[in-house]
């Protein structure tokens, strides 16, 4: 996107926080989108030729201004349309994940009952048995090394 697409007064969004590793827009769970809203106040001439000066559009930063490369900005309407689609896709996946993890939770509950019948305090005493679950959780972003803190 070049600065030619912007004009003074445009409502824009700083999209840097929403860019994925593949340089595509991505939905960020619980992100405060409003913190990235701003208004174009000046199109800077010369070098860097794509620079746009913006005024932040949230109360905390209302009077502060920053200059960004135009590629880091997107029109608010365009952003909201694209982001809304991404959010819908994310929520669909989130619902599928929840269903799956309900099933995993059920298996843990059943296993804990069985462990108690064996005279154990709880399932987490069965180190060998729970190892596959720990490995899976580690691979999915948790830190199981601190589970027994």
């Amino acid at each position: 996107m070049s600065k030619k697409t912007f004009k003074v007064g445009d409502q824009v969004v700083l999209i840097a926080d929403f860019m994925g590793p593949n340089d595509k827009l991505q939905y960020i769970n619980y992100a405060a989108i409003e913190d990235n809203y701003c208004t174009v106040v000046e199109l800077l001439p010369g070098s860097p030729e794509t620079s746009v000066k913006v005024k932040w559009g949230v109360q905390d930063y209302w009077h502060s201004q920053d200059t960004f490369d135009a590629s880091k900005l997107m029109h608010r309407k365009e952003f909201e349309q694209k982001y809304s689609k991404l959010e819908t896709a994310y929520k669909e996946v989130e619902a599928q994940v929840k269903d799956k993890l309900k099933e995993a939770g059920k298996l843990i509950k059943e296993s804990n009952k069985m462990a108690k019948k064996l005279g154990l305090e709880s399932l987490n005493e069965m180190y060998d048995a729970i190892d596959p679950l720990y490995q899976a959780m580690d691979a999915c972003g948790w830190r199981t090394s601190s589970f027994s803190c």
Partner: protein, 147 residues
């Protein structure tokens, strides 16, 4: 064990239990199988008269503090049942292990789904609640998972 089984000379088993995971609050409890036979005791019932519901046991195997003590019959099991207890434990352990493998498979699948929208399970707080709650309710402490 049944009172009728508690004859002098009968071999019995029990385990040393702890009130916390740091080894505090040691007390005698029902026998628990474990691979290394840790904290397990084998004893012999003595003929010495005991209070109702109890017997005197002389410990002959294990890391015992007192060589002889009065023990509640509810805690004791017959040493002759030990092989069956071990067999049952291994059978149930296998079933639990299978269930945990299945749970792990599901978590991995859920992780793949999360990655498909450039997220991780840890970031999907609402979706992971059923798993976290299940673990909290079954012996884990999720409050320290991010230590």
């Amino acid at each position: 064990m049944k009172k009728s089984d508690a004859k002098p000379g009968t071999k019995v088993i029990a385990s040393i239990c702890f009130d916390d995971r740091y080894g505090g609050g040691e007390h005698l409890g029902p026998y628990k199988y474990n691979e290394y036979d840790e904290n397990n005791l084998v004893g012999v019932i003595r003929s010495k008269e005991a209070t109702p519901g109890h017997v005197w046991v002389k410990w002959i195997e294990g890391d015992f503090d007192q060589e002889e003590e009065e023990v509640d019959l509810k805690i004791l099991m017959l040493e002759s049942d030990r092989a069956q207890i071990e067999k049952d434990f291994k059978q149930v352990s296998k079933e639990i292990k299978d269930k945990m493998k299945e749970a792990a498979k599901i978590v991995n699948e859920a992780g793949k789904l999360a990655r498909s929208v450039h997220s991780t399970l840890q970031e999907m707080y609402d979706a992971t609640n059923p798993l976290v709650d299940a673990m909290d309710n079954n012996g884990w402490h999720s409050s320290s998972w991010n230590c």
